[in-house]
């Protein structure tokens, strides 16, 4: 199942309505309350998968919209009761690091629940980096450039040494070979500019 097929998912399948029907019948006398509630839920439930995250909209009087970015997904649950498995459904429950014990977003009503799980897994935090067994080395100055850093430092030392040798051999004053200092020393600390 490819990415486009997941992006195309929007409405839950009619099997979800059958599941809701069975559930509300099993709820006994409460059926008169749960059946319309679940029917509206089924009727208004919309999912949208895009490049950044999952968006779920549900509700007719009290609307609720949940947006979860893939990178914030902490763990993915796939859970299914007997009736759900008979209907070929499963809940994909998605959690972020929020303070609730329950799932932030539940994707229900799709036969492709395992494909959705794998799709989300490939995008969640910690699964996207494709080289887990060789973590990048910590920035270690002597290792970053390796020998190059040492070579460069030695080069600077040699430059300094030659400059000093030149200074030692130059005529004492009034030499035309040396330009005037860029920053004329105003104080003894002015030596640092040279």
């Amino acid at each position: 199942m490819n990415t486009d097929a997941i992006y195309a998912l929007e409405r839950p399948e009619p099997a979800l309505w059958r599941l809701y029907l069975i559930r509300s019948i099993l709820s006994g006398p409460a059926v008169f309350i749960t059946l319309p509630m679940l029917w509206f839920r089924y009727y208004t439930l919309r999912y949208r998968f895009d490049a950044e995250g999952i968006h779920m909209k549900v509700g007719i009087l009290f609307r609720r919209e949940v947006n979860v970015t893939y990178a914030r997904i902490q763990d993915i649950h796939l859970s299914s009761g007997i009736i759900q498995r008979w209907l070929g459904l499963a809940d994909v429950q998605i959690q972020t690091a929020s303070g609730t014990a329950g799932a932030e977003l539940t994707i229900e009503g799709f036969h492709q629940s395992e494909a959705i799980r794998d799709f989300l897994y490939a995008r969640m935090r910690g699964a996207r980096d494709k080289s887990p067994s060789t973590p990048p080395a910590l920035p270690h100055a002597a290792e970053v450039g390796g020998d190059e850093v040492v070579t460069l430092l030695l080069g600077i030392r040699d430059e300094l040494r030659e400059t000093r040798a030149l200074l030692a051999t130059r005529p004492e004053t009034g030499s035309p070979a040396l330009p005037p200092p860029l920053f004329p020393p105003a104080s003894p600390a002015g030596d640092d500019h040279v």
């Binding site: 498995r85 014990a101 887990p132 300094l160 030692a168 004492e172 640092d192 040279v194």
Partner: protein, 247 residues
């Protein structure tokens, strides 16, 4: 007999196939299973529960019917019907007990704890099948929990927690356990699994929330690098001395 029951359950309950490691991580996957002692442990708990329930039921049944038998005024028809009516729930309880024992066995067999290089996957359950996938990057802490009976049997539960959790005041109503915890129930090698998970966590720099600690030695550790720095420093100082003495 049990095998037939298992086959029937797999068919009727539509128990999904064995879990596969998350895609892309099949190479380093290790599968852990509940230890045989875990079945014994559940059996002990089941035995205690069953003894209590059946004992109570039997007491009620015998007590009620003895009271009726001793009462001469009750017509035999009523007596028989009461006997049947009270035995029926008891028989149901008995059947449920046997069924729950078989489910217990199946539940023990249908447990998988998969650890890959990058993630964990825990599958459990027979009637309600639950599967949790979490990457190491999201794991906050790992705990080993052991009760007295479990200690006697050499078992432990490994608890892997992610951020969040707390009371179930979700906006969506949620019945059931805290979804922020992955349980490796009834494993005999909890310490080994814990070490494995901790090793893999250590290799991940950004596991969990919060700032990471760099335990790397400071940059100057390489001797060649230090020597070169010292040489440059000495040269720079000599240059300054030469300049200041020249003026």
């Amino acid at each position: 007999m049990y095998n037939a029951f298992r086959a029937a359950c797999e068919r009727v309950l539509r128990i999904p196939h064995d879990p596969t490691p998350p895609p892309g991580d099949e190479a380093g996957a290790q599968v852990f299973r509940a230890a045989p002692a875990y079945f014994k442990y559940r059996l002990v708990l089941w035995g205690l529960r069953t003894a209590f329930a059946l004992g109570f039921g039997l007491l009620l049944l015998v007590g009620l019917n003895l009271a009726l038998l001793n009462d001469r005024d009750v017509p035999p028809l009523v007596r028989t019907s009461v006997l049947v009516a009270t035995s029926l729930p008891f028989l149901l309880l008995l059947a449920h007990t046997v069924f729950s024992l078989a489910i217990l066995r199946l539940d023990y067999e249908k447990r998988w704890y998969v650890v890959t290089d990058r993630s964990l996957r825990v599958r459990e359950g027979v009637v309600t099948v639950r599967e949790m996938t979490v990457t190491f990057a999201n794991i906050q802490n790992v705990a080993v929990v052991q009760g007295p009976i479990q200690r006697a049997l050499g078992l432990a539960d490994l608890q892997v927690e992610t951020a969040g959790g707390g009371s179930a005041h979700a906006n969506e109503k949620q019945l059931g356990p805290n979804l922020h915890v992955a349980w490796f129930r009834g494993i005999a090698n909890a310490d080994e699994v814990k070490t494995l998970i901790q090793d893999r966590l250590r290799r991940l720099k950004d596991a969990g929330l919060g700032d990471r600690d760099d335990h790397a030695p400071p940059a100057g550790a390489a001797p060649a690098f230090l020597d070169a720095l010292r040489a440059v420093h000495a040269e720079a100082r000599a240059l300054r001395l030469a300049v200041s003495s020249g003026q």
